[in-house]
């Protein structure tokens, strides 16, 4: 039975082939450029205004952050940032600390959607992108921060300031694999007068609000103004401007921002409620209680009856007339 040998050898061969295919396909997941990539006569898009700092041992966090901040002229060194973002016992930096430190330097931190196309779009707009990569495997990770400064669609490479390598050319497939394993974490850090190329209204306003809640009020105000100039249909930008003025006890300014909010977006109850608060602080008792009434009419479950602060004395002359459009 000469065929017996063949049939016995076949399963082993098939198993070996299967194993090889499985192993090879594991590293052969090819990545492609998105359709939106500008594949044109000049395939290399590279930013030349991003300074490079080679990282010290383990300190890719402070080095990458310094590159991001100094592109915007922050004038920091990686050493300045070590205390803010480096955990010696962990040999590393946390994403949340990197983001918080950037805010402390007055930058708006905008999270990109987990898409390669968005990174490319930011590069085209001249914005370097901070990315997190996992250089090893999901079960044995090696986290690494790097700054994307360009891409080459002809050579299929991403260009990064990474570790000790300046303008390192990384094959697109390798970049995508390591970036995917880090949940596609990517951020741009910009002065609040500039808009990220991929900015979406609500996401941008949430980033602006993060500046407001962390006490970076000047930067937050600028970011809300940028939002207002870009999208006229976003009530949160006006509410934010009013809330910052209120927090700084600038009642006139707060009242005027809330007034604009209630005029342009009369169905947003927060505008009426906050207008009532600002007017009460100004001493405009009657106008304040009319505004509060209006907020309650719009959203009775949110605002308590009779919670308005009592206003003493006579009203100043510049109290507005508040007319509630909701009956």
């Amino acid at each position: 039975m000469p065929s017996a040998d063949v049939s016995r050898a076949a399963p082993a061969g098939a198993a070996l082939a299967f194993l090889l295919i499985a192993l090879l396909s594991g590293c052969a997941t090819t990545a492609y450029w998105p359709d939106t990539a500008q594949i044109d006569q000049a395939p290399v898009h590279q930013l030349d205004n991003v300074p490079f700092y080679p990282q010290e041992k383990y300190q890719c966090g402070p080095a990458s952050l310094a590159m991001m901040l100094n592109t915007q002229g922050a004038g920091v060194t990686p050493d300045d940032l070590v205390g803010q973002v480096y955990l010696p016992e962990r040999h590393g930096s946390l994403q949340v600390e990197m983001v918080a430190a950037a805010r402390q330097h007055g930058m708006l931190v905008y999270p990109l959607q987990p898409r390669l196309a968005d990174i490319l779009q930011e590069i085209d707009a001249g914005h370097p992108v901070l990315v997190l990569q996992n250089l090893r495997f999901g079960w044995w990770p090696q986290w690494h921060f790097a700054v994307v400064i360009g891409y080459d669609t002809q050579a299929d490479e991403m260009i990064l300031h990474s570790g000790t390598e300046k303008a390192y050319h990384e094959p697109l497939t390798a970049f995508m694999a390591t970036w995917d394993r880090a949940d596609n974490w990517a951020r741009v850090m910009l002065p609040p007068r500039e808009l990220p190329a991929t900015a979406q209204p609500l996401d941008y306003l949430v980033s602006a609000n993060d500046l407001e809640t962390t006490g970076q009020l000047d930067a937050a105000r600028q970011a809300y103004r940028t939002a207002l100039a870009t999208w006229s249909d976003q009530p949160a930008a006006l509410l934010g401007l009013g809330n910052i003025a209120y927090r700084q006890e600038n009642w006139d300014e707060a009242a005027s921002q809330y007034r604009r909010l209630t005029t342009e977006f009369p169905r947003i109850s927060a505008g009426w409620n906050n207008l009532g608060e600002a007017l009460a602080k100004k001493g405009c008792g009657e106008a304040a209680s009319r505004a509060h009434d209006c907020a309650r009419r719009l959203k009775p479950e949110r605002y308590d009856e009779g919670a308005d602060a009592a206003v003493e004395g006579t009203s100043p002359a510049d109290c507005p007339v508040v007319d509630c459009p909701i009956q």
Partner: protein, 133 residues
Amino acid sequence: MHTIRQYNRPIATLMSVVMLLFTLAAAPASASVVGTGELLTQQRADIDREDLTRMLARDDVKQALSDMGVSEQEVRDRIQSLTPSELASFKQQLADAPTGEGVVGIIVLFLVIFIITDMLCATDIFPFINCIR
């Protein structure tokens, strides 16, 4: 820095406690002014709710729901009573799903899980459903 990830959970827990304390401490100071974040959360929820409602218009979703004996109007009412965080978790599941037929499954499963757990009184999201027990 390979061990950073394993600290995600404890740090998240610690941060939620810290944030809760801050909220409690900060609330009386200007409880009366509505914060910008509150409006943003609301607006995000409104958008998510619209997206979810729009998905009900898909024929395959309609079919799947009617096969289970759930009327479209009932589901509409239920979507209205979902909280912002429930809507966000739904959106996350949808984003993680591969495109194609799986999407209908997630939409239906999500709605039905909330309805069924509520009927078993495991959660208390929909007050108009009578508990089995």
